[in-house]
């Protein structure tokens, strides 16, 4: 059963992408095709999770080559759980994007490109989760990165190119570090199969082990946005279209976290770099959340909280105990869902209010109570208010930290509490400003044009974009078209729609929100709430997964037995 199902999360989206390219002239077919493909992938992933939970880890060699030589896909509890969560949010985001595309025509998401690329992205994520050898993991990363480059620069507006350049260059560098790490691992051990590596790496001298471990950690740390390597993320994510940012925030960094979990537990169980990871986790949490508090743009604020909460997962990994890993696994699942949802809500806020700058927004709670609820519940969940799943995840991690009892772990427990409180502060600021204050207090509506003229060259897209052509000539200095283009090129990252036709923002603010988009977001919000209800079974699953991770034998045995058979 697993032999048939395991390759499907990779194969189906790739075939679907090819199909979506073939029918690129018919948006309706394309939408139906990609939605059906992702729904099937979700069903397959759920089945895999049940099988893996029942039977334990199992390996499938692809293409008929025996195990140490051929490519092997491994389904264990961790990878199956990641697959389920990833395909769920991917489906939700796709429905949201379909709704957005239907509402906007092809203005926001060039449909013929979006769907195939999105499916390739899902295939890359699936491949990274299932990969049983380091090089296949690298290929999975490259597939999803290549798709993400295209998605991030979709439409090729100046702001997106600007943000995209940072992202592409940083990702390329991390891929090269990863590839060099693979080369060194191969030179040292003569294999890239992770199960064999788990056996052979332990026989190496300690210094070599630490070198290999740190190279892989640096490569994955860049992808997961762990602190000293996280500066690229808040710079590049906010410029992309809302569904793209949402799926990036949910999945891409978590693939990095998954890779860290896998390599730390399976390949380098000695925990030689656990102390480094501890302090990196602390710095990630605190620096990230302090950045979030300083932001006045909703999407940038969310990007910083994304960085900050990666720290919790790294904390769980650094503890290295089964309890810590269980907390980290649960937190990854929770955070994928929650962060995706919040970015989708940010997309809705942008449609409703015409901007994501909290200084300009106001009165959203009165204008759209549903939107307010959709923001409030996941925001409280992110901050970790009981009884929501964010609280359960944080509690599990903090308990694991206290149980560890070392001074570093206790410092991190304190840091985790502070981060949680500061997250509450950051989302509460957005709530009071964008949603709660009376709309009259905000210049978002009638006075937007005046404010935009006032803001002059600093103005930042959205509603004030309505005054684009009106304000420029009356500015303090005449601008040539070239200078104007350059100014737009370096425009602030918050200018997500700088090239919209004038008045689009203003018109949009009055339109009701498309039902499909709200429906998709509401479904994901319901999912995050359901995670609270299902926390018991889910945490149990995370526990069992982390016991497997700490023991290592189920994974290794499944792969090497496959080789014997």
């Amino acid at each position: 059963m697993i032999e048939v199902l395991a390759p499907l999360p990779v194969l189906l989206p790739l075939l679907g992408a090819a199909g979506a390219l073939l029918v690129s002239g018919h948006p309706t077919y394309q939408r139906t095709l990609s939605t059906v493909v992702l729904a099937v992938v979700l069903a397959v992933s759920v089945t895999l999770l049940f099988l893996a939970d029942g039977e334990g880890a199992s390996a499938v060699s692809v293409g008929g080559w025996p195990v140490p030589l051929g490519i092997v896909l491994v389904v264990d509890r961790l990878s199956a759980l990641m697959l389920v969560v990833a395909s769920t949010v991917a489906l939700g985001v796709l429905v949201f994007a379909v709704g957005q595309g239907a509402a906007d025509g092809s203005e926001e998401t060039p449909l013929s490109i979006f769907h195939p690329t999105f499916l390739v992205l899902v295939a890359g994520v699936g491949n990274a989760f299932l990969a049983g050898d380091l090089f296949n993991l690298y290929v999975g990363f490259e597939i999803l990165l290549m798709a993400s480059y295209v998605l991030l620069t979709l439409g090729g507006t100046a702001a997106r190119i600007r943000g995209g350049v940072t992202y592409v260059i940083v990702s390329l560098t991390s891929s090269l570090v990863f590839l060099a790490g693979i080369g060194l691992v191969y030179a040292a051990t003569g294999t890239v199969n992770m199960a064999q590596l788990a056996v052979r790496l332990g026989e190496l001298p300690e210094g070599t082990q630490v070198l290999l471990q740190s190279m892989l950690l640096i490569a994955f740390g860049i992808k997961a946005a762990v602190f000293p390597l996280s500066a690229w993320l808040p710079d590049s994510y906010p410029t992309a279209p809302a569904p793209v940012t949402a799926v990036f925030a949910g999945l891409l960094t978590k693939v990095g976290v998954y890779a860290i979990i896998r390599t730390q537990t399976l390949l380098f169980p000695g925990g030689a770099l656990d102390d480094v990871l501890m302090w990196a986790a602390l710095a990630t949490m605190l620096v990230g959340i302090l950045g979030a508090v300083a932001q006045s743009d909703l999407r940038r604020m969310l990007s910083f909280t994304l960085v900050s909460h990666i720290g919790y997962m790294v904390f769980g990994i650094a503890l290295g105990t089964a309890a810590g890993l269980a907390g980290a696994v649960f937190y990854v699942a929770h955070h994928i869902a929650i962060q995706t949802t919040l970015f989708l809500v940010a997309g809705l806020v942008e449609r409703q209010g015409g901007t994501t700058s909290v200084n300009r927004l106001g009165g959203l709670a009165r204008r759209s109570p549903l939107l307010a609820v959709l923001f409030f519940v996941p925001a409280m969940n992110l901050a970790g208010i009981p009884p929501l799943s964010g609280f359960i995840g944080k509690l599990g991690l903090l308990q694991a930290g206290v149980a560890d009892g070392s001074p570093a772990a206790l410092t991190l427990v304190a840091g985790g509490v502070v981060t949680s409180l500061l997250t509450l502060l950051a989302v509460a600021r957005v709530w009071t400003r964008a949603f709660w204050r009376s709309p009259n207090q905000s210049p978002a509506d009638d006075t937007a044009a005046a404010a935009a003229a006032d803001a002059g060259p600093q103005r930042a897209g959205g509603a004030d974009g309505a005054d684009d052509d009106g304000a420029a000539p009356s500015g303090d200095r005449p601008r040539t078209a070239l200078q104007d283009a350059w100014r737009r090129h370096t425009a602030v990252a918050t200018a997500s729609e700088p090239d919209l036709p004038p008045a689009a923002g203003a018109v949009r603010a009055l339109r009701p929100l498309p039902r499909t988009m709200v429906g998709a977001t509401a479904a994901l919000v319901a999912l995050t709430v359901a995670l609270t209800g299902l926390a018991g079974p889910l945490y149990g699953l995370a526990d069992r997964a982390s016991v497997d991770l700490v023991e290592r034998t189920p994974y290794v045995a499944s792969v090497l037995d496959e080789g014997d058979g």
């Binding site: 260059i169 080369g183 200084n359 207090q441």
Partner: protein, 163 residues
């Protein structure tokens, strides 16, 4: 197996030149740097395959007479990936040039704005000195209208003006 000095020197040189170019603001140089780094990495993986100069697989024979074919297969994949990504970066450079006649990496203005905020108490700031974006939301000055006119029809709660 005799150790060779040529490969390590070349790998080191390529890495050094690649990193130097990668740190430039001009995107074309960044791309060139990336290509150099990619080649350096490929050579690194190649040197993991054993002594240089032997064919990977040549007919049937003693395995001692072959080089390890796996690193070469890995490099082949990596070269294809590098090629695709380089093409994409070129496309970005072209687009950047078309948009702005400039292909240097720009400054992040939003970062600058956040960084330029003073560490002073918010109460001591004169909102008129601030960028309109940074003015407190409910502040009359941010409405770009005469505060006297607004006083009648806007219900400003106490305290919001000083935020």
């Amino acid at each position: 197996m005799t150790p060779t000095i040529v490969l390590p020197v070349m790998i080191g040189g390529l890495y050094a030149a690649g990193v130097y170019l990668l740190l430039d603001r001009s995107l074309t140089r960044v791309l060139l740097g990336f290509v150099l780094l990619g080649n350096a990495t490929n050579l690194l993986v190649l040197s993991a395959g054993g002594p240089s100069g032997l064919a990977p697989i040549l007919g049937y024979g003693d395995p001692e007479g072959f080089n390890d074919p796996l690193p070469q297969a890995l490099i082949l994949t990596a070269i294809v990936i590098t090629f695709g990504v380089s093409a994409f970066v070129l496309a970005i450079i072209h687009r950047s040039w078309r948009l702005a006649r400039n292909e240097a990496v720009g400054t992040d203005e939003e970062d600058r704005r956040v960084a330029a905020r003073r560490a002073t108490d918010a109460d001591e700031l004169d909102p008129d000195d601030l960028d309109p974006q940074d003015r407190a939301a409910g502040h009359a000055d941010s409405l770009a209208a005469d505060p006297e006119d607004l006083a009648d029809d806007v219900d400003v709660p106490a305290g919001s003006g000083t935020r």
